[in-house]
């Protein structure tokens, strides 16, 4: 064979091999792409589930900012320490770089972006107008809740209302005013109120634990109550709105107070008639949260295992202990002293919380299926009492609302064999000021560790006054820094400022 023929063969060989192999399509593995995902109503439903998931995997998951820090200010001493940044809250040592603050901020916007995505994509998919509004209502409820938390922690924040692709520039937006953020929240909750089913007790159609119209009404009451106080100080007009929305929820006659205080929080009875909305954690490890764990005293500091097995890192301040009448069944249930064998407790205050209990064998202390409560009926009653008192003084309506909560508390806690008590007694004959004072502490007694205490303190306008003289700060056992006047807002996370030039120079005062 001639040389030229060899060349021909080889070249041909190479060429055929070449053309056969240029295909770069991946054959082993394929996954959904955006274009194929948002095609059907079912896809929208899955995206909504992912929006809820942002709630549970965000800051509510471990409950540091979701609840524990709330109460850190007046309820908690030098408690949660040793575990990374969480000690920053117990010791008043947080900064703009504290990871829990970043997690709160980023986690909220992560959920907001999910909600915005659903709102955008739902438009292109064929479905009934009713279904569409329900889906939008659901994500607007969640978006409203994310912003409600953000605005209470940080004040005015950037309002993200659309989906960002990779247009970096359009995401550089400054802080909206606190007013603007509240207006936005109100719009979201109002839409949800108008388009969601009244409750989540009717089974398959609207599964348990979902956002409802009633919860939206209840949150509107809370939003207006918050706006009425510090820092917006909207006053009477908003107390009136808070009262109206609280009354609206009561008039629905769907929700009520449970007889047994402890069963509200049991992991096996969480979606009950008292709970308007809560962040749901599930029975498998991946769906568990840390919410219950921080707050449960657990067996490892010497309390019976029957109480569960939490971290037991939250100490309660003397002020909070003193706020309870020792005969109050809620005190007996919520607060335990850790005195088994002394266990080297140098702390002068040895009270810890044991409110959220779980009955399952523990997955390890940091994972439980205890839900994080967002809004329950007792809060609605106390909201009504507070708003009515601000508007008209301690009227019959106000007494009636607050005393309902007290009556239930007196009934004792049968499931834990805590007997009925004469305390807390019904309230009578208070003036407006002392009623205000009582509602404040009644909220703490009833709702402690539910993530509301800090907001109540800020709302009262006396945040610093309330926290600065806490006894534990000066008893020698406290190993943190003193609170400072500007702590009524958290610092915007440094990364939010650095990565969004429009926020430069807009850090909260004092930080």
């Amino acid at each position: 064979m001639k040389i030229s023929n060899y060349i021909k063969i080889v070249v041909l060989l190479l060429f055929t091999a070449f053309t056969a192999c240029v295909n770069l399509e991946e054959t082993e593995f394929n996954i959904d792409e955006t274009s194929t995902f948002f095609e059907s109503e079912e896809d929208i439903q899955k995206a909504i589930v992912a929006t809820y998931d942002a709630l549970s995997k965000g800051y509510y998951e471990d409950g540091i900012l979701g609840g524990v820090y709330d109460t850190a200010t007046i309820l908690m001493g030098s408690g949660i320490h040793t575990v990374w940044d969480t000690r920053a809250f117990g010791g008043n040592l947080f900064t703009s770089q504290t990871s829990e603050i970043e997690k709160m901020y980023l986690g909220s916007y992560f959920g907001i972006s999910k909600a915005n995505l659903v709102m955008e994509k739902v438009e292109g998919i064929e479905m009934t107008e009713e279904a569409k509004n329900k889906y939008i209502g659901e994500v607007r409820f969640l978006r409203g809740l994310f912003y409600f938390n953000l605005v209470q922690y940080f004040g005015g924040v950037p309002l993200t209302t659309k989906v960002y692709e990779y247009d970096y520039e359009s995401a550089i937006i400054p802080r909206s005013t606190t007013d603007e953020v509240y207006d936005f929240i109100i719009e979201d909750f109002k839409f949800a109120e108008a388009n969601l089913p009244l409750d989540d007790f009717n089974g398959s159609d609207n599964a348990t634990g979902r956002a409802t119209s009633s919860a939206a009404s209840g949150l509107l009451a809370k939003v207006y109550l918050t706006m009425a106080g510090h820092p917006l100080n909207k006053g009477a007009s908003h107390y009136q709105l808070a009262k109206d929305y609280a009354q609206k929820v009561i008039d629905l006659d769907i929700y009520n107070l449970l007889d047994d205080y402890s069963t509200i929080f049991f992991s096996n009875n969480e979606n009950n008639r008292e709970m308007l909305f809560s962040v749901q954690f599930g029975p498998v490890l991946e769906e568990c949260g840390n919410w219950g764990t921080w707050q449960n005293v657990g067996d490892w500091i010497g309390v019976d295992k029957e109480f569960g097995a939490g971290f037991g890192r939250v100490y309660i301040t003397e002020e909070m202990v003193n706020a309870y009448n020792p005969d109050d069944p809620r005190f007996i249930y919520n607060v335990v002293t850790t005195n088994k064998k002394g266990k080297k407790e140098k702390k002068k205050f040895k009270w810890k919380t044991n409110k959220f209990r779980f009955v399952q064998e523990y997955y390890g202390r940091n994972s439980t299926e205890i839900n994080a409560p967002v809004l329950r009926y007792a809060d609605i009653l106390l909201t009504l009492a507070e708003a009515e008192n601000e508007l008209n003084g301690p009227t019959e309506l106000a007494y009636n609302a607050i005393n309902q909560v007290r009556v239930r508390a007196r009934k004792g806690i049968p499931s834990k064999e805590i007997a009925p008590s004469l305390e807390p007694a019904d309230l009578t004959g208070l003036d407006q000021e002392s009623f205000r004072e009582t509602v404040f502490w009644d909220r703490a007694r009833e709702l402690m560790m539910e993530g509301l205490d800090r907001f109540d303190c800020v709302r009262s306008g006396n945040y610093y006054e309330l926290v600065k003289d806490a006894k534990h700060l000066n008893d020698g056992s406290y190993k943190g820094a003193d609170p400072l006047p500007h702590f009524d807002l958290l610092p915007l996370p440094l990364l939010a400022i650095r990565n969004n030039p429009a926020l430069q120079g807009q850090q909260n005062l004092g930080y």
């Binding site: 593995f29 589930v49 980023l106 970096y168 634990g209 599930g282 991946e286 939010a496």
Partner: protein, 1081 residues
């Protein structure tokens, strides 16, 4: 030359030969016969060595396969000349000798040297790009645990970065500095023609466990298997690898068989390794801890001090000597210890030193090679066992490498490589395979209170919470012995290359290769102890299997032609590669107390996590071409063009061209220098070209929806959400590189200098660009911004003194590498998180700055008195509290009399001013002595251990260095260390220049002394060669750096580029005493 001419010439020659034979009949009797053997200086026999008589024409022969020769020469011949490619030509006197044994020494600098380049080889003379070669002889002169060790300091401009000293640990190589951030900065490794690429990043964000082992994927390589390593630095050399050449290319060629009788080489080496004592941190003793705790109470305004407004002084309520600390082992809170009781009743353990021991490293390697020119073989195997210096840690590796060269006909031949390997890495010494460095055993030992009783287990009866609340670890020795952390790797590499010589000039090559790797990680934290600071989860087991298969094929036509003064070398072809990685991670928790290894008894767990499965695939193809033209050995030019495709990018961005061009002028071939006695070679090189870097994860350019479930009323619902924001336009980052260089050889090759200057402009860097968090996303992987790297490299090899029995040679490498961010999408300053504790924004990418820049506060000592505070404009500390003496002084960068986030500034630049290595070798008869130094000058190191172990937290969450007692206090007012009350505004202090140190060092990396037993002694035995060597590695370190080691850099993945030089909880680097015996049969 025409054919007729040559025929004519032959006729003449034959005629003359006949005539001569006739004339000189009488002279035959005067001839002498010389026999002998030619061997190389490492004892191999050399077949085919040309032997000619000096000053007499046409008398010559060559050695046979066994290196033997017989030559008859006229009596007047006094000297024979021996020459062989790759060896120095030698003249040997034969006066009065009948037999000769000639030892030829390798000549790596010889101009006829052949260099392996991409898809072919080239004469060193013709090379136009910047290519450095390291031969096996150089590799074998030092003791190397890895290829990283072997290259350290030997190639100018090549930096080897290893996290720490963990046995079998990974290393990273940067050629000419890092030129990428999120994308890989590793060069492309090509082993026997097979591109080995680190595939995706294997970090599992949920478990924190990552790839582990060698990040370069080269951990299956032992230096003893390697024939040569070529480092391709400039674009001209790397452009043939197109999209993957931007970070340089390292071509590794394993040993091939050589014709001749079967040769067996065996080498055994044993090292003892220890941690130099001055590099072991000194933590609190039990007595120190008491002093510290009482001093903290003594100086605490809340406990023991009150400010007297009239005297303006502190009043102390109790004397220091009166203060007591609670017995950490008592349940009774009133059980207080005096100093005496404390010191007498508590144990005192130096946990760090307790977990250290003397390590033993043994390495066996065996190679059998030989064959006839038609069928050559080389069988090499190596076994390494490294018992680490931290209790319970170590590394075993077994590698086989078989090379076969078969010639089936005059035209068709094949080269085959088969290489199976196995390794096991065990123990949790350093980072321990965990992202969180503070989970590594070494960190845990540093964090364990000295009075922890031996056998104390966290989470159970003896668990306690004491003043140092962070130290809730169990006895570290117990942990080291009971924790399981094993990584097994099974690898197989097979490659065959068929060559068909179509004509003498043109040949076709077809390569096929497969590579299979299975990595199994098995981890178990027994239920008997907790995991670093976290409450017990009753044991956790993690099992991860990662399977990677890849195949490659390349088909090329090579053309090699010389006509007259012209020489052409060309290659054209195409190549394709596909890789699939399949990873499954399983996690289980809560085991019974008697479970020894939960990763084996996985089914005994009470709770399981859903297994995580990740499959990734990449396909690549390329069309390549290169032409090298040389005229008259003087001028050469090379042009390269490659077109590459990569499935990682979307269709519109999938293909791209990568061209390059270069030229060289060998001045020494010009007439005016040709006969110079001084200049042997002088070549100038210039090149320019483009290469790419696709180092990103598969599917980064496509939206990935992930399962995002939620529970409604205890029932799990499936959700889908995207985790990341995706840039559909993502594509290669590309680099344009300019290179100018010069090769000079002087005085008979006694001085060799290679000098290069380069400028590399990287465009469209692949970057996880931070986004405004209000988008809902923290970052997006995109092409953002441009980066310039530039620098100078020098390699100087000299033979300072050279005589028959003595040789002193010096190799020096010196490099200056600089980088500068030229532009960025988005803000000119972009901040990134690091893994040092939870500092979210500690490194910056800033236009005008170089890569690897850390930010924090500028530390300027402490306020030593009230007067100093009054004189200062600043009244508040970072968190807004009033300043007091002992508080750190941070520079007020913006002059607003406040210290806050806006005063954060650059505190560390991690690029050295220059770096390199110096190697002095002495050869006296059969002795060789070498001193090998590496150095880096002026670069910052973040002393993470200092950060973790010096700050005074009121919460006492850290064990401290003994030196922490030298804190500022009213009684120690001259101290520049923050006071005991150090109240920083965070649970951990802010990062500041207090923790940054200059890492400049000179390291005596290797002392080598070896003796080759003279051949004469061995002549009668079956042993052909024998060499004994003693080495000390990491013999001494000169540095002012106070931490563990200035070369530690525990950040991984993209943090490795963004936040390098973090020395934190690192597995200690050891000093090794090594003995090696090499025997040839």
């Amino acid at each position: 030359m025409s054919e007729q001419n040559s025929k004519f010439k032959w006729k003449h020659i034959i005629l003359i030969a006949f005539l001569l034979m006739g004339v000189s009949q009488t002279m035959w009797s005067q001839r002498q016969t010389i026999k002998g053997t030619v061997i190389s200086d490492n004892g191999d026999v050399l077949p085919g060595v040309a032997i000619v008589a000096k000053d007499v024409k046409r008398v010559g022969t060559a050695t046979d396969f066994d290196g033997n020769f017989v030559i008859k020469v006229p009596a007047k011949v006094k000297t024979l000349i021996f020459s062989y490619i790759g060896f120095k030509t030698q003249e040997v006197s034969i006066k009065g000798k009948k037999t000769l044994t000639v030892t030829m020494s390798a000549d790596s600098k010889q101009l006829e040297e052949i260099v392996v380049i991409g898809y072919g080889t080239q004469r060193r003379k013709d090379v136009t790009g910047a290519i450095a070669s390291v031969k096996s002889e150089e590799l074998e002169k030092t003791v190397n645990q890895s290829i990283g060790d072997a290259l350290q300091g030997k190639v100018a401009g090549l930096q080897v970065v290893s996290e720490d000293g963990i046995p079998g640990g990974g290393f990273k190589i940067n050629i000419r500095g890092a030129a990428s951030i999120t994308g890989s900065t590793e060069p492309l490794y090509v082993v026997d023609g097979f591109p080995i690429e680190v595939f995706g990043d294997n970090v599992d964000n949920d478990t924190g466990y990552e790839g582990g082992g060698s990040s370069s994927g080269l951990d299956f390589m032992d230096a003893s298997l390697i024939e040569s390593i070529e480092v391709l630095k400039d674009a001209s050399a790397t452009a043939i690898y197109g999209a993957r050449g931007a970070n340089g290319v390292i071509i590794i060629t394993t040993k091939k068989g050589k014709a001749g009788e079967t040769k067996i080489n065996y080498s055994v080496s044993t090292s003892l390794s220890v941690v130099p004592d001055d590099r072991v941190p000194n933590m609190f003793s039990t007595a120190d801890a008491f002093d510290y705790l009482t001093m903290q109470d003594y100086y605490d305004p809340k406990i023991n001090r009150s400010w007297n407004d009239t005297t303006k002084e502190w009043e102390y309520l109790m004397e220091l000597s009166e203060l007591t600390i609670r017995n950490p082992y008592s349940d009774d809170e009133e059980d207080m210890f005096t100093k005496e009781q404390w010191n007498n009743q508590l144990s005192d353990n130096d946990w760090v030193r307790k977990i250290l021991k003397t390590g033993v490293i043994t390495n066996h390697s065996l190679s059998i090679s030989g064959g006839n020119p038609g069928n050559l073989y080389n069988f090499s195997t190596s076994y390494l066992k490294n018992e680490g210096v931290v209790v319970g840690s170590g590394y075993d590796r077994f590698v086989v490498n078989v090379n076969l060269n078969n010639r089936f006909s005059d035209r068709l031949s094949a080269m085959t490589t088969i290489s199976p390997s196995y390794s096991k890495q065990y123990g949790t010494g350093g980072g321990g395979g965990s992202i969180r460095s503070d989970w590594g055993l070494f960190s845990r030992a540093m964090n364990t209170a000295p009075y922890t009783r031996v056998g104390d287990l966290d989470g159970f009866e003896n668990e306690y919470e004491d003043e140092f609340e962070g130290s809730i670890y169990s006895d570290p020795v117990y942990q080291a012995e009971n924790e399981i952390n094993n990584t097994y790797k099974y690898g197989f590499r097979g490659m065959t290359k068929l060559t068909y010589k179509i004509t003498d000039e043109l040949s076709a090559n077809v390569d096929f290769g497969i590579k299979y790797d299975l990595k199994k990680q098995r981890k178990f934290n027994p239920p008997t102890f907790g995991m670093g600071g976290k409450p017990s989860i009753m044991g956790q087991a993690i099992r991860q299997n990662n399977e990677q298969k890849s195949y490659t094929n390349s088909n090329t036509l090579n053309y090699n032609k010389k006509f007259g003064k012209h020489r052409i070398n060309a290659v054209i072809g195409f190549t394709q590669q596909s890789k699939v990685s399949d990873q499954i991670t399983e996690k289980a928790r809560q085991f019974d107390l008697d479970v020894q290894d939960g990763s084996v008894d996985f089914d005994l767990a009470n709770f399981y996590f859903k297994p995580k499965i990740r499959i990734q695939e990449v396909k690549q193809n390329g069309v390549l071409s290169r032409v090298n033209y040389v005229f008259n050995n003087k001028y050469s030019v090379t042009g390269t063009l490659r077109r590459d495709g990569d499935s990682r990018f979307n269709k519109k961005n999938r293909y791209r061209y990568f061209p390059s061009g270069s030229a060289a002028w060998t001045i020494s071939e010009e007439n005016f220098l040709k006969d110079s006695k001084v200049v042997d070679n002088w070549k100038l090189r210039l090149s320019y070209g483009k290469a790419g870097n696709s180092g990103t994860r598969p599917r980064d350019s496509r939206e990935q929806f992930v399962v995002s479930d939620y529970t409604f009323g205890g029932q799990i619902f499936t959700g889908y959400g995207s985790k990341l924001l995706v840039d559909e336009n993502l594509t290669w980052q590309s680099t344009l590189q300019y290179n100018g260089g010069m090769d000079v050889s002087l005085f008979g090759d006694r001085i060799n200098l290679v000098a290069d200057a380069y400028l590399r402009k990287t465009k469209d860097m692949i970057l996880d660009q931070p986004l405004p968090p209000n988008t809902g996303y923290a970052y997006m992987r995109t092409n953002s911004g441009n980066l310039d790297n530039w620098g100078y490299e020098f390699t100087l090899n000299t033979e300072n003194i050279k005589s028959e029995n003595f040789l002193w040679s010096t190799n020096l490498t010196f490099a200056i590498d600089r980088s500068k961010v030229m532009s960025l999408n988005g803000p000119d300053q972009q901040f990134f998180e690091t893994r040092l504790d939870h500092h979210a924004n500690s490194v910056v990418l800033q236009v005008g700055e170089n890569l690897g820049t850390w930010v924090g506060y500028q530390y300027e000592g402490v306020y030593q008195s009230w007067e100093e505070i009054e004189a200062s404009q600043i009244t508040k500390n970072i968190r807004g509290d009033n300043l007091q003496p002992g508080d750190p002084i941070y520079a007020d960068m913006n002059g607003d009399d406040k210290i806050n986030d806006e005063d954060i500034t650059i505190i560390a630049r991690t690029q050295p001013k220059f770096h390199g290595g110096i190697w002095n070798n002495f050869k006296i008869n059969n002795f060789e002595f070498g001193l090998f130094f590496t150095y880096k000058y002026k670069f910052d190191v973040i002393n993470g251990d200092k950060y973790k172990h010096t700050y005074h937290s009121r919460n006492g969450s850290n064990m401290l260095f003994a030196s922490a007692l030298d804190a500022w206090s009213p009684d120690n007012p001259d101290s520049n260390n923050p006071g005991f009350h150090f109240d920083t505004g965070a649970s951990t202090p802010p990062l500041s220049s207090y923790y940054v140190e200059d890492g400049s060092f000179l390291r005596l990396q290797n002392i080598n002394l070896s003796y080759t037993i003279p051949r004469k002694i061995l002549e009668k035995s079956f042993i052909k060669s024998c060499k004994i060597a003693f080495n000390i590695t990491n013999a001494y370190l000169w540095t002012k750096y106070s931490g563990s080691d200035p070369e530690n850099s525990v950040s991984r993945g993209k943090y490795g580029n963004l936040a390098p030089n973090l020395d934190w909880g690192a597995y200690p680097r050891t000093r090794n005493w090594n003995t090696t015996l090499k025997i040839g049969f």
